[in-house]
Subunit: 315 residues, 4 copies
Amino acid sequence: MADLHDVVARIAAEMAAEPVRGKVADYIPELAKVSADHFGMVVITAAGEEVAAGDADTPFSIQSVSKVFALVEALSRDPDRVWARVGREPSGGAFNSIVQLEAEAGRPRNPFINAGAIAITDLVAAGEDAENPGRAGIGAILRLVRSLAGDDSIAIDGAVAYSEAATGHRNAALAHFMKAHGTIDGPVSTTLSTYFHQCAIAMSCRQLARAGRFLMNGGVDPATGRAIVNPERARRIAALMLSCGHYDASGEFAFQVGLPAKSGVGGGILAIAPGRASIAVWSPGLSPQGNSLLGTAALERLAHAMGWSVFNPDC
Amino acid sequence: MADLHDVVARIAAEMAAEPVRGKVADYIPELAKVSADHFGMVVITAAGEEVAAGDADTPFSIQSVSKVFALVEALSRDPDRVWARVGREPSGGAFNSIVQLEAEAGRPRNPFINAGAIAITDLVAAGEDAENPGRAGIGAILRLVRSLAGDDSIAIDGAVAYSEAATGHRNAALAHFMKAHGTIDGPVSTTLSTYFHQCAIAMSCRQLARAGRFLMNGGVDPATGRAIVNPERARRIAALMLSCGHYDASGEFAFQVGLPAKSGVGGGILAIAPGRASIAVWSPGLSPQGNSLLGTAALERLAHAMGWSVFNPDC
Amino acid sequence: MADLHDVVARIAAEMAAEPVRGKVADYIPELAKVSADHFGMVVITAAGEEVAAGDADTPFSIQSVSKVFALVEALSRDPDRVWARVGREPSGGAFNSIVQLEAEAGRPRNPFINAGAIAITDLVAAGEDAENPGRAGIGAILRLVRSLAGDDSIAIDGAVAYSEAATGHRNAALAHFMKAHGTIDGPVSTTLSTYFHQCAIAMSCRQLARAGRFLMNGGVDPATGRAIVNPERARRIAALMLSCGHYDASGEFAFQVGLPAKSGVGGGILAIAPGRASIAVWSPGLSPQGNSLLGTAALERLAHAMGWSVFNPDC
Amino acid sequence: MADLHDVVARIAAEMAAEPVRGKVADYIPELAKVSADHFGMVVITAAGEEVAAGDADTPFSIQSVSKVFALVEALSRDPDRVWARVGREPSGGAFNSIVQLEAEAGRPRNPFINAGAIAITDLVAAGEDAENPGRAGIGAILRLVRSLAGDDSIAIDGAVAYSEAATGHRNAALAHFMKAHGTIDGPVSTTLSTYFHQCAIAMSCRQLARAGRFLMNGGVDPATGRAIVNPERARRIAALMLSCGHYDASGEFAFQVGLPAKSGVGGGILAIAPGRASIAVWSPGLSPQGNSLLGTAALERLAHAMGWSVFNPDC
């Protein structure tokens, strides 16, 4: 078995030197400002060791990685409503596709495509304080993330949230379409506002890897001993991450890396090696499918060097 | 840890008593004749133990399970041509859908939907003896399966193959469509004939579980010590089985069972618990998506009882 | 040649007696209140004769019939921008489908499906008074309709407009989707408000038939002698009405009736027999495709009795 | 009113000088051999006058124009079976699309897209002499065309028919797909063979314009006085030609030209001005949608100069 410190250091050095770095998301100005030169990585093992490299402590916009936490929050309230509302199948389409919604009566394929995530966020945003619409939902997600990371300094990047709201017409189309089909309950504006704020949570690799520890550990947060989800739910969330965590490149990621993982267009990826490690990588340049190019490469090398693919027989 | 013998016996008893058994495939008369009462299961562990229950030695038509073996054969010849021809993503559609082919210029999403499997079989059928078109391709697949199972009595059910050819217009449509796009090389009739014969291979659960041992074992056939594929390829085939092995219910299977597996409309499923077991189940009644209803239920119970989900941290 | 008075009277009697009347639109409460018992019809000939029957003077919500007038208004301003924005092909899909938009980069197939009509209305709503967003656009459309009908009493049904806005999530999805693709310029809320008000214009058959006279007359309003559009544009609008005027039942309408016509879910249809007549019918019960059931039947009988199909050789 | 001789001569001269001529169909070698320099045009008026220009007597492959004659033949046998099998709506897709078929259970949208035409030909090919499969069907279509044109020398270009059969995998995909859905009855090979031969009928503009005379004339062949179809059916076929005659450019053709017409990838178009003229044009260069570029331009100029649009009020 390779030494984790050596492996992480070597991968970080390789990624720093990599000339082809992908294209930074430009659909909102705030994301486009970030340099593609960044690369960060933090691995936290089941034994509690924390191995970091590169820009491990620079906060970035977690974007769709937040969908994992929103799902955990919604499942903790009412799993039946979650699965009545979204499916568990890969969509076979792009992250923001509306075609599948029309063909399937407004029911999103899974909670990790945009439509599905908006439907999940709508559950979390329900039962809002009428005077502060959206406040309770985003508060709940932020509290969960802070608690999991053990870090109350985690915050929402207001400029990103504002930017998303101003330009998020595609997401607004998805939300209105689902509203027309009864898939979401709340006022569209409240649901979208909550969703845009959730996507604008800023975290470093270190914070993100910490927030993911419960998923490698059968649902129990090792820092507190608290069961965030039960073991079966932890396995199932991991299965969804493997099947659907990289949009229309999920099959490719499973094929190349073999780890449950969720990516975001901010360039972050949270990956889980069950029983072994919680891993966060960040590099803002994206593949054409919208996943971090170097983040994916780094995870592939890590999984290969450490033998961490879930399909590896030597466990 | 539960005792495997007890678990298998209990599951077989439960399956025998189950009143809702799904609907036997009726699209070809030969398959429709089989009784939904059948249930068989064989588990072969990494240690070499073989635990059987129910109709473990009754041959059935393996149908799409054969796609795994055809893929192994094609990869052994020229992996670059395989991946130039088919993708590695879930299709988001039914097993025999042609829509995705039109949208994506005749390139199938993955090797386990019908279109992709036909494209793979076409590679295996290439370089045929002109006097015996189709003979060499099906011969190669049959030799591989016999060798892996260590059983030269495995044969093709001629009546099923004939039946498939007579009624396989949907597959013929896929093949002609791909031929129009240059995705397949051979004469359509030769490729289809090879494909229909491959699907008509008849095997028992015992034979099938034996034929799958190399996939739990890092690519090495434990019976012979021969490397059928290298460890990386074994992992990758398992990843494809998890992502795409159950057509448009693959995400659900990953969610519920958590094992790489490939199903066939004959009611058989080959599942792999990497490093632990090769498993074959058979029950002819199908779910609406075309996967064995009781076979899936049995695998879910087995994976749960034994802790064999690939997403389980306790490895 | 049959006598027009006899024909219209006979058709109205037949329609009054017809037991199967279709289903009144129920997607907004204001429309659902209208009784399916209504039937009205007005035919105005090229010679200026006005033949009425049934509820000829009862105002109804013209809904999508308004798309013809919005198109005329937009073309009068800048035809190049109109045709840069929408196509001229039947969509092959439902009136409110979003699938085609995704496949074709946000460009609607034609100005008579909802997406295309919203894009056209956005052109009309442009250059708004910032203090009264939406006021100028809807004002222009209303002025055009009043002028064509020679009747300043034509008004917008505010309850319908409010109802549409409150429930129009599907249209909001279309608008946001197009906004994301740059197909519409204005703020989505302004464009939608204008669109919902335009659809809520209330007119009687008599008013509607009068407003359509210029289209039977080579573009010239016979009441005023004013050229509303030039002859070529009048022909082309008629061609669009024939190809695309009945959503996904346009081909069937051309086949059965053979007249350019535009329907609305309020149950109204404006039909044009070039050189012969402007015709308005109204009956609120709809076919599954959303077109007036008895209105269509009445037009078919009228066209047949009078020999008015554009495909008739005896002109 | 312009003089028809002058108009036709002027248009032919303009077309001869036109530098941009489109791209000759290259999907079968026999069609690719034809020079894009050709242009021919024949107009036959209701009064029986025959005005010709350019390559008016050069035979070309009529290809999809044959679908009109196959439809007439099938309707003459059993209209109920025709309309049970195919719809009357524009497809909103390409001429050879298979997507719509999958979405709509194997029922083609109309008889003029390839799928619909194959389904119609299958009706004509039914009841074949078992010893000469396909002989009776193609014989019937050829007899009809010869009779309508008053010219027994019209023949099938065997090289084209052979070429189509050898390369027609896309059409074979459509046929097998429909066979799987029960939309066609005959053996796929017989139906396809009939279809390929029908498409390979070679005719000159003069022969084609003559064969179309009954459609301008209320269904009666003016040469013989025989009613080929009744007046209602003649109108309805014209309506289908207007709605669906130019594949996914039918709306545009209606908008620009305003005449019922059917195009073929050989570069021919048969257009009908009801009560006025039967028109055939031919120029092999195609638009991206597969319609003759100069043929369309010539018809637009002719319809404009003569005032022959069906949407023209001056009839």
